[in-house]
Subunit: 381 residues, 2 copies
């Protein structure tokens, strides 16, 4: 029984490595349709392992009312991805294994498998993210590069998203001390393509990280998902330049939700690229004019041990106890609609056991009928 | 007996106007050597009026050990200044009179007489200061002008120092709604001279204010003294652009000491003109990207009545009781040196009555041997 919320403790030297066979099953499961990081965790908790979960998927989807059940990744596909990845020098690190980044385990929806190219060890160094506009100003680029350089000199690894503008400047400034590029697509689909050389260069002392299939072409909507990894890997996020409603502000919001520090670089109010960062400062982000401002906040945090939050899941029940009765299933589905509802409310209003509600939600999700939102909210699609 | 610390209450409708004769004596006293606003207050408190203080000055100076006693302004000089001022339409408002700006009375060292040209009424409207670099950027000038305009539209009078750059932009932006120029020199010595037209133009709906003699040529060291009036007149100070160790930061510091709000406009960390403002933000100034940020802080303050702090001075003693004995005077002088000492410590260490210590300090000051610092600190010169 894997309980990811407890992996933090285990990973501190006690982590267990998956067997090759288990890793293959994990990859099949996470590459199957309708299965995101949260569903993956629920399935493993429910069935005790990926192999059992894979076997159960068709009947779960049927009970969830799938008209056309989602595709389950085949053993051959997963084996091919593992083989092709190995050829690139990519290592798959599984949630709960000793190499899995400690802070990333603490987020709500950590990727079960992280495909890492380059130096794995950098992921467990103190990391700080530096992000910002793609169409950055010359001053912004210069500042980001010098901030990344100074934080690198102070032994921090610098995390960013390999984008044009601020991201690339952050990687360039810290390329000699170690930098981590978190990809929106797969390792074979570097975006933007002109940063392929930058990526190759940063692998010498840093790493590239992806949770997506090797050949996944990143779409616009993959980047917010990717951004949770940028903040999730890091002690904090520095936003250098950001317009209103920009992706960097999503990263800052996620950082806040994940309990990470948020830093922002001030800018002239007449510069639209400073609207987002000045807004963050008004909301209480720490003002940064140099590396010392970041270090002053992070140094005290570094001293504290990383303690995983107490596990919230109850002990698993025997399958018979969590098998929903037909009327229970109908009652729970009846409570759902297109407006997100809290899972706690579903439990209360349905009168069903929490484990039963979770099972029904799992079935619906596998059937492609459920959408999960942040904060334990769910809705029908 | 005038007790300026209580004038706030009196000025709220109960203020008494000085007679012409009294105003002449006040002007003579404040124009005499070695007499600043604090000494003026002490003298009035000690002698019950300016006429008696003027009479006592020579003997005070002698007892304070003046080698060459300071010059006492003559009756003719004061009358000439009053007459010349009247010709310019200048009105002298005395501390404690109904027209004296309420908030300015609350500062530690309010000028006994304020020479006002233009619309006197603006001084008792809600005022906000906007200050900043003389060598401002084009963006800074544009921002200051538009901020002043918007605050003017919101019924605030805008106070500034008539300097080049940000100050002039602040006046220009609020010229139609009302703006106050606080001068470093006298009304006949406008600095910089090229802003004489701007000054004339702003008098239609605003005012120019000075505590200096009509023909006083402002020197560099007069501006920090002037800056206390900019902040003292205002609910708060917005610093738009400021390099490190600039005059605008002095105004911000004085505003803080006077219990006024401090606002700062953020800027790019690579711009030296933003070093001061970003520094203020790190110290807790409110970040301003538009008038709304200022109004949000000031609006709740406007609702509160202005309450003068409780009077700290004891009731005056009969002259015999505050006449220092020869050994007391020697003991107090012996405790003084070039390093600033707290007046409270002098009282404690000398064993003399507080009123006696104040008398000795007054004598030393009139004799030109004492320097007063902020926070009730004094040193020998």
């Amino acid at each position: 029984m894997l309980r990811p919320r407890q992996c933090g403790g285990r990973a501190l030297g006690e982590g267990v490595k998956l067997s090759d066979e288990q890793r293959l099953d994990w990859l099949r499961l996470i590459r199957s349709d309708n299965i995101g990081p949260r569903t993956f965790r629920d399935l493993i908790n429910h069935f005790g392992g990926a192999a059992a979960a894979l076997k159960a998927l068709p009947s779960l989807a049927r009970r969830g009312g799938a008209v056309r059940p989602g595709r389950i990744a085949t053993r051959e596909e997963a084996a091919a991805e593992l083989k092709a990845s190995r050829a690139h020098g990519i290592v798959f690190v599984a949630l709960g294994e000793p190499d899995y980044p400690l802070r990333l385990q603490m987020i709500d929806d950590p990727p079960p498998l992280l495909a890492v190219r380059g130096k794995l060890a950098i992921l467990n160094r103190p990391l700080i993210a530096i992000v910002g506009s793609r169409n950055a100003s010359a001053a912004g680029v210069k500042f980001a590069q010098s901030l990344a350089h100074d934080l690198g000199e102070a032994q921090y690894g610098v995390v960013s998203g390999l984008a044009r503008g601020i991201d690339a400047a952050a990687h360039r400034g810290s390329i000699a001390t170690g930098t981590v590029a978190v990809l929106g697509g797969g390792h074979e689909r570097i975006y933007p393509p002109e940063h392929a050389d930058l990526l190759e260069a940063l692998l010498a002392d840093g790493a590239a990280v992806s949770e997506m299939p090797l050949t996944w072409e990143p779409r616009a909507r993959d980047f917010p998902r990717r951004n949770r990894l940028i903040s999730g890997l890091s002690l904090g996020v520095v936003v250098v330049e950001a317009a209103r409603r920009s992706g960097s502000l999503i990263t800052a919001r996620l950082a806040g939700e994940q309990g990470r520090e948020v830093f922002a670089v001030p800018g002239n109010p007449l510069d639209p690229r400073a609207e987002g960062t000045n807004g963050l400062l008004k909301q209480g982000a720490t003002l940064v004019t140099g590396a010392a401002d970041v270090i002053a906040v992070l140094e005290p945090i570094l001293g504290r041990p990383i303690e995983p939050p107490p596990a919230r899941e109850p002990e698993p029940l025997a399958p018979a106890e969590i098998e929903p009765a037909a009327d229970e299933r109908a009652r729970i589905v009846g409570l759902l609609g297109p407006t997100p509802a809290a899972i706690d409310d579903l439990v209360r209003l349905s009168g069903a056991k929490p484990a039963v509600v979770r099972t029904v939600l799992l079935e619906l999700e596998i059937a492609g009928r459920l959408e999960r939102h942040g904060g334990s909210l769910v809705s029908l699609v």
